[in-house]
Amino acid sequence: MTKRDLVVRIARETGLTQVDVGKVIQKTLDYITESLERRENVELRDFGVFKVKHRGARKGRNPNRPEHEVEIPARNVVVFKSGKRMRDLVETEL
């Protein structure tokens, strides 16, 4: 599923235009990204939480050239922790 699919379907279900729906979805994604850029967590109840985590520097190895060590610099990454509804519906036992 892509953004396009979301836009088409939600426009149909709400009667709003695809342009308006597209704008709202794009802004939502942009503002979540902005918030994470400021190191602020984004908590979307039932869906999940986006957080920024620091990853320390480490040495890595190219699997094709194991004799070469590569320095991997410290960096920040976004992690997602699923919320209650997501866990209950999606993260079921196998």
């Binding site: 802004k27 994604l29 990204t33 039932d46 990454v77 976004v78 997602f80 997501m86």
Partner: protein
């Protein structure tokens, strides 16, 4: 930042009612959950990808009673992989 903050800000900027903005945002999240429930991946360009992967069953240890072993069954989990733009702005 919460859903409420998003709704208020986006309603102000677009001139749409808070009710309509809320409906769009809530439906987006619900449809993403639906897709994942069906085993579908959700790709939001530049933002990231949500996918469902399997976790094998394993034996865990209760941290408060380390002598006790617990069987953790195999299950599905949602993973998020940050998209190109997200990765770049958060990195530094």
């Amino acid at each position: 930042m919460t859903k409420r903050d998003l709704v208020v800000r986006i309603a102000n900027e677009t001139g749409l009612t808070q009710q309509n903005v809320y409906a769009i945002i809530q439906k987006s999240f619900d449809l993403i959950i639906d897709a994942l429930q069906n085993g579908d991946a959700v790709e939001l360009r530049n933002f990231g990808v949500f996918k469902v992967t399997k976790r094998h069953a394993r034996t865990g240890i209760n941290p408060n009673q380390p002598t006790q072993k617990i069987d953790i069954p195999a299950k599905k989990v949602v993973v998020f992989k940050q998209g190109k733009h997200m990765k770049e702005v958060v990195r530094k």
